[in-house]
Symmetry: C3
Subunit: 364 residues, 3 copies
């Protein structure tokens, strides 16, 4: 416990934990103050995501390489998963899908691009393991195909549409999870030597003892779930109040908040010329959301959701995911980066953000 | 003749030849037994395709490298061509187009993917000639552009549409055949040293003497044509009986049956760590169908078909061909493969197969 | 002045200067002879473009590397810019957009492809600096995303559409110009060593003295503007008279005429085995048009045009730009070329040209 307190004193992001009681206080006193609740919930999620990420890594580092890799590969995006599950239970499938697509786009374009940019401002040319980048990008590519095909073959106005789309979504979800699992076998077992040593990919912070890590994991998960509920309830009205479109909130704001912890690690890795860490976080996270979190949400919606959720995304979101994947494919084929490569990735992200910000709400 | 009989005894696939008389017997006795006829015709085409493939290779191996290469490059997909011509004569243009697109997709994704997978389960990392893969893929890319453009620029509801589409289809077909011819000049003549030695690319079986090869070629071509006729007549009703969509039958079933012989060679090459053979068969076959068979069918439809056929494909098929080409572009850029690369290709194929299987018939 | 006359005697293209007085004579005598005026204006623009290009290079070579590079990077497509500005002032936005998209496609496919083909007919394999090709292509890719997104997210029939599209177009234009500027910083300043020595990229002709260069620049600019006005006025009727669609004229004819000077330099570079010169001209020019000329036209339309112009292009044009970018991405990844690579690029160009030529006018 004192270790936890020391961590909080040491890491300034964790001072934001003060916003957690604030959320629940305001929620109790003024349950209709949606804009305020939205901002407080956003601020409260950032330190919780940081704690969750550190706890997951601590557990992973204690359990040996394979189990640890597996843990990281399934719980690495726990914050995003909890937020999405909360929105799922509330039946807000548009928000769920926007946040999934947004997390993929944000990780591949903004997280990777800003890492290249920050690293490139300090180092002339940076190298990274091309094999891992290519591996994660091919997984992403597979997921992009799975998102693209339902929208591509389905005419909007046919009667059998809904049944077809639900059957197809379940089938595709199973395929994606199987592919993700086989990918883990390949990268953690049969061909692990191609992916570089795993030590390099662990972040700097000293791991916590197992007991602290597990109890933090449990406690913080509950807190994230509670805060997410406030967040999901208030997001629509808050978006209107700020003049933001729902698409912008789901795609950009939620994705940036949910990924705050990964961002901190990725940027710090890039500034220390350990670009493999940044690339691993950015693309590994995107692949995990696309091939594990999203299909899981589809399957779980049959149990938790008011109605089943399908994998048919808004065509604009599919195109953005497709472009992100192609951009990363193009940019990472060389295995080197300079600051300008980072600028290119961030520019594509800005094009998306600007479009979503300006988009009239009726369209999406 | 005794050589042919010995081959039949040696190669178990050829025992399926017994289904040829069965097809014609059932056709005579019970001409309306469509489902049975469909299954028998499928089973009868497999050994015929094997014989055709062996005969073509035997003729090719006797005629010197350039003429042999040319023969292989034009008759290598004779089975697919005959089936398509039979459907063309019957005016079944949807089936023709589905089988052409399906053959491209099946060769690039399933044939190549299963080769990588089978080879990768035995060998840790396999290498192949990247130049040849890149060459065949660029040809495929060109054909994909030619299939994409008519659908992309044409609005569905304009009067001049039909004339425009026919003029464009003839023009594009001529361009594709010219490009294919120039590609042969480049790979067999001016830059053959880049494509590896041709001996390596010949399969294991001992070539037949010229007389046997030529008479087999002639006789089996006639048999394939006759069986294809039964097949094309029965395919629609059989599809309904099996609960398969016509798109699934054309895209997946016909393509797998027509390519059975190539599959056997490609898989055996991969298991012997001769991946250049597998890549050459898979991508060479796909390029040949896209740049030679498909345009030939368009031109021939002016002579044989009830009305001219155009190059405008169902948008879903165009997208699948486009995705297949992009997948292969991505995957073959390194020149290495592991079992997981095979999994990725097969997974994309499964996504397509599943979508087509579930697709309500009215859509396509 | 005598230097200018000597240049004219030496360079046969400049003999076409005789068509300038012809344009104005016919315009005065027979202002309705649109077809004749169109042909004369076309012929008059070619030598003017050559002079403009030589004058820009001469100024650039006198002002030191960075300023010179900057000059070339902004005035290198002065002819295209003037023609587009003339069409802009006349409110002919369809022609402006077609000529912009056409210039990108013509530079990436025809100019580069014909250079590879011409060079490859003389040399077995040619090498070029892959880094520069990749850099220019990523810029092009960014611009393609900016063109693609507005068409992709916008439904055609919504009321707020026009406002949204104009805001988005201005925002995207500013982003593209900033990206272009940062690209210049990267290629001319911070990472110039990756792009090869600049001397190699200067063409053969001896530079003119500063005075001559500057006065030629000024005088010829005025002449191009005047001739362009005749050209833009006559292009519609002439297209009808020649049986060409407006899309074909804007995309193909204007782009070939405006790029005549660059073509001469690029082809001559390829024949001398200096492929870096050809690649630099082709892709550099395309990137400049996409990231500098097109966004400038959008911004300038607020001052010069009858109404603001947006960045929403005809979907067919967007797809052609996208395919061009992907083709170049694929083809330049190796850094080598043979004649057949040139054939592939030219074939894609011919597919586009044929489609636009046959396209019924009502569609575009």
């Amino acid at each position: 416990m004192s270790l936890l307190l020391e961590e909080i004193r040491h890491n300034r992001v964790l001072w934001l934990l003060v916003f957690i009681p604030a959320v629940f206080a305001v929620k109790g006193i003024e349950p209709e103050a949606h804009t305020l609740l939205f901002v407080l919930a956003l601020l409260a999620i950032v330190p919780l995501a940081t704690l969750l990420s550190h706890a997951t890594e601590s557990v992973a580092s204690k359990t040996g390489d394979t189990v640890g890799g597996l843990l990281n590969a399934t719980l690495g995006n726990l914050t995003e998963l909890i937020i999405a599950l909360t929105a799922l239970r509330a039946g807000q499938y548009t928000l769920v899908k926007a946040s999934v697509a947004g997390a993929i786009v944000t990780n591949t374009l903004f997280l990777l691009g800003a890492s290249f940019l920050l690293g490139g401002l300090r180092y002339h040319i940076q190298d990274y393991n091309r094999t891992n980048a290519r591996f994660q990008t091919s997984l992403l590519f597979l997921a992009t195909v799975a998102l693209l095909i339902p929208s591509a073959v389905a005419a909007p106005d046919f009667v059998e549409g809904a049944t077809f789309m639900h059957q197809l979504s379940v089938g595709l979800s199973v395929l994606l999870i199987v592919a993700y699992g086989l990918g883990l076998v390949s990268s953690l077992k049969t061909h692990r030597e191609l992916f570089g040593s795993t030590e390099e990919l662990v972040s700097d912070d000293a791991p916590w003892p197992m007991g602290l890590a597990l109890s933090t994991l449990a406690g913080v998960t509950v807190l994230v779930a509670l805060v997410s509920e406030v967040f999901v309830e208030s997001v629509q009205q808050a978006a209107v109040a700020f003049g933001m479109t729902p698409a912008f909130v789901g795609f950009i704001v939620v994705a940036l908040v949910g990924g705050a912890a990964e961002m901190a690690s990725a940027f710090s890795g890039a500034r220390k010329n350990r670009l493999d860490l940044s690339v691993g976080i950015a693309l590994g996270s995107a692949a995990q959301i696309a091939l594990f979190v999203a299909p899981m949400l589809v399957l779980v919606s049959y149990v938790l959701g008011p109605t089943p959720m399908d994998l048919q995304f808004w065509p604009g979101a599919v195109i953005m995911v497709l472009i992100s994947t192609m951009t990363v494919l193009t940019v990472t084929s060389s295995g080197h980066s300079t600051w300008f490569v980072g600028v290119l990735l961030v520019m594509v992200y800005l094009i998306f953000a600007m479009t979503l910000y300006l988009l009239p709400p009726r369209i999406q």
